[in-house]
């Protein structure tokens, strides 16, 4: 399996100084229930950050704060400051913000249209291409970057729902990167896939991290260890510990983190 270090070919120190996403004192409430408590963390530029923690600890909630997908959940309220490149997301237009941030969900959710239309949809609504030829080129490139081009090149007009689960998930990734985002959010992207499809997605994540800032929520600690540069451990709506992945998994500073990664809580 690819280790993250192979891909941090640029000086790691220089990267770490630039935080792409910075959260300060973020509180999230679902109605009366508070889901996140004073979350503060930094996501470095062009690195993979894994959010781990037991179910219901708020890691997905935090992920959805980044592209303001929580806005569409009724009764959900977000407090605190969350900035991308120094801009507070609360002040940005959510539709424009989401065009800059790709998101991949737990269950592959291609549109029930052709493979081509799935990738081209975002390109069309944001008018990223001048003509049909440019759209074709973007679709081809996106599929190539998602490692799907060879498998589907001959059947771009077939229904996306006929693809296998792993192919569908890579199609969703292609759809997200067709908008040329800076950030890709992944919410347990491999949880419904078999080990072979999971391995392909993990390789893809490693490749994509050269060009994109990736935040991935995962239940699998092995996956976090394999793909991420940094790991953040959430528990009961709070950030318990964050740091370099190698450090978290070898010498955790907090007792709670250690107990979780050795499988005693969660």
């Amino acid at each position: 399996m690819t280790t993250p270090d192979k891909h941090t070919d640029k000086p790691a120190a220089a990267k770490r100084q630039r935080a792409k996403i910075r959260a300060r004192a973020v509180n999230v409430y679902y109605g009366d229930k508070q889901a996140l408590f004073q979350v503060a963390l930094e996501v470095p530029h062009k690195q993979v950050t894994a959010l781990i923690g037991p179910s219901g600890c708020g890691k997905s909630t935090f992920l959805r704060c980044i592209n303001r997908m929580n806005d569409v959940i009724e009764g959900c309220r977000v407090e605190g400051e969350l900035t991308i490149d120094g801009e507070n997301v609360a002040t940005l237009d959510p539709v424009a913000l989401r065009a800059r941030i790709g998101m991949v969900f737990q269950k592959p959710n291609p549109f029930p249209k052709s493979i081509y239309d799935n990738v081209a949809y975002g390109v069309r609504i944001h008018a990223l291409a001048q003509n049909r030829k440019e759209t074709d080129e973007i679709v081809r490139q996106s599929l190539a970057r998602a490692g799907l081009e060879q498998e589907v090149a001959s059947r771009l007009n077939d229904s996306a729902t006929a693809l296998s689960g792993g192919q569908q998930q890579r199609l969703c990734i292609a759809r997200a990167i067709a908008l040329q985002p800076d950030i890709i959010l992944m919410d347990e992207p491999c949880s419904s896939l078999d080990p072979i499809a999971t391995a392909r997605i993990e390789n893809l994540i490693a490749e994509l991290s050269q060009n994109y800032t990736i935040v991935i929520v995962t239940h699998s600690m092995q996956q976090a260890a394999r793909v991420s540069h940094r790991t953040v451990f959430f528990h009961l709506g709070r950030v318990v510990e964050s740091g370099e992945t190698t450090q978290i998994f070898t010498t955790p500073r907090r007792k709670q983190t250690e107990r979780y990664i050795t499988g005693r809580i969660g």
């Binding site: 569409v72 065009a99 998101m103 969900f105 029930p112």
Partner: protein, 431 residues
């Protein structure tokens, strides 16, 4: 011990399967009896006996036809009756007493004289008037419909049974037998049933008016209920906040779907007729009432179709930076469309069979003219069936059965359209 239990379980399984099959067989039997009953009653209405008569045109009419411009070639109904009398006397012989004349005349439908008058008028209006007098024949072979009692007699005779119909005298029976023996009586497909509207005389009564009335009313109901219902459902399901007001609206819509249809008729009477002064008995008003009745069905089915669209599709659209309405319009609504259409067509099918609300707005009436616009007075198919089924003349009850068949055909066609539309949408989605 164990084996006997296993056997018992298999026996129970066979028993349950048998119950299921028996239930289906029972339902199919009922459907079969229903169709046999309706078709056997309806069949007589689709054919009709006609008698061929040689009608001699009076000299003055001939002269008018060949010389005048046509308007003068009209004849009175009395003259037409005299022409018919002459033609009947020629075929049947017999005396010229008023009693015998009347007996002969009663063999034909009461509308025969009027029919002849119209045909002569058509003749003079057509190019015949420009023909030279030598080409104009002095007599014409024309077919006339028979009265309902003659019709009954001929049917019974061809069926080989003897009926003592008090409406016909022995002399009239002999006359009919004589006409039949001469080969002048023919059984024809009853085209008039589809081309004519309601009439007091069964041989001239048709469903054209009721059919057009139903189509106009359904068109208006669909044009109102479908867009309103779908927009309501989309707003409630996708955009409206979940608060007390939307909960209240939701409960109100569910209740509306359960309201007896006659109440919608009352509403139509009070609001559309008395307050808005819309025309009484018109398909416009009827369609509006049917739209009110169909609206809650459309809303409820459209909402459940929207609810069935997976949440992942909405997330996918929003996460790609599509606006809320783009997500709904581009992804959610197309996905829900087959379900929405099915609901709308079920609602329309219910509206097609509805009589009660139309009762209140004056669509239950004898209307002999087909509506040309939705503002003309009209009845609808179920109302026409109701009116005919109530009629003492048995010829009308066979027409009622025939109208039921026509209505069933429409229902089947609508359901087939629903299935085809759904398949078309699903095919489009698969691509």
């Amino acid at each position: 011990m164990k084996e006997s239990r296993l056997r018992r379980r298999y026996r129970a399984e066979r028993r349950y399967r048998f119950y299921g099959k028996a239930a289906i067989a029972f339902a199919v039997c009922f459907l079969f009896f229903f169709f046999v009953a309706i078709v056997s009653r309806a069949l007589p209405a689709f054919s009709q006996h006609e008698v061929l008569l040689r009608v001699a045109l009076p000299d003055n009419l001939l002269k008018n036809l060949s010389t005048a411009e046509g308007e003068d070639a009209n004849i009175s109904e009395g003259a037409a009756r005299r022409m018919l009398d002459a033609a009947l006397a020629q075929e049947l012989g017999g005396g010229g007493s008023a009693h015998e004349r009347r007996a002969r005349r009663a063999l034909l439908t009461p509308l025969a004289a009027l029919d002849l008058k119209r045909r002569v008028e058509n003749l003079s209006a057509s190019s015949v008037s420009s023909l030279s007098p030598s080409l104009l024949l002095p007599s014409w072979s024309l077919s006339f419909a028979l009265s309902s009692s003659s019709e009954r007699f001929l049917r019974a005779q061809s069926g080989g049974e003897q009926v003592a119909d008090p409406a016909l005298s022995d002399m009239q029976r002999d006359m009919l037998t004589a006409l039949d023996a001469k080969g002048l009586v023919a059984k024809r497909f009853n085209l008039a049933f589809f081309t004519r509207s309601d009439s007091r005389v069964p041989s001239a009564a048709g469903i054209r008016g009721a059919l057009l009335g139903s189509l106009w009313a359904l068109l208006i109901a669909f044009l109102l209920a479908f867009p309103l219902g779908v927009l309501t459902a989309v707003h409630l399901e996708e955009f409206a906040p979940r608060n007390r007001l939307s909960a209240l609206i939701e409960v109100a819509i569910y209740n509306l779907a359960a309201v007896p249809s006659i109440v919608f008729g009352l509403l139509g009477l009070v609001v559309f007729l008395n307050w808005w002064q819309l025309p009484r008995s018109a398909p416009l008003t009827g369609g509006m009432v049917l739209a009110l009745m169909t609206l809650p069905i459309v809303v409820v089915t459209a909402r459940s179709a929207l609810k069935a669209v997976p949440e992942g599709i909405r997330n996918a659209g929003l996460a790609l930076g599509a606006s809320h309405s783009q997500t709904v319009l581009h992804h959610v609504l197309p996905q829900a469309m087959p379900g929405i259409l099915t609901g709308a067509i079920i609602g329309m099918a219910r509206a097609l069979g509805e009589t009660a609300p139309l009762l209140m707005i004056g669509m239950v009436a004898f209307i002999a003219q087909a509506p040309a616009t939705p503002l003309d007075p009209a009845t609808t198919l179920p109302v026409q069936i109701f009116l005919w089924a109530d009629h003492p003349d048995p010829a009308f009850s066979s027409r009622a059965a025939a109208a039921i068949l026509v209505m069933l055909c429409f229902l089947v066609a609508m359901n087939a359209a629903a299935v085809l539309l759904r398949q078309a949408f699903e095919r489009k989605r698969q691509r």
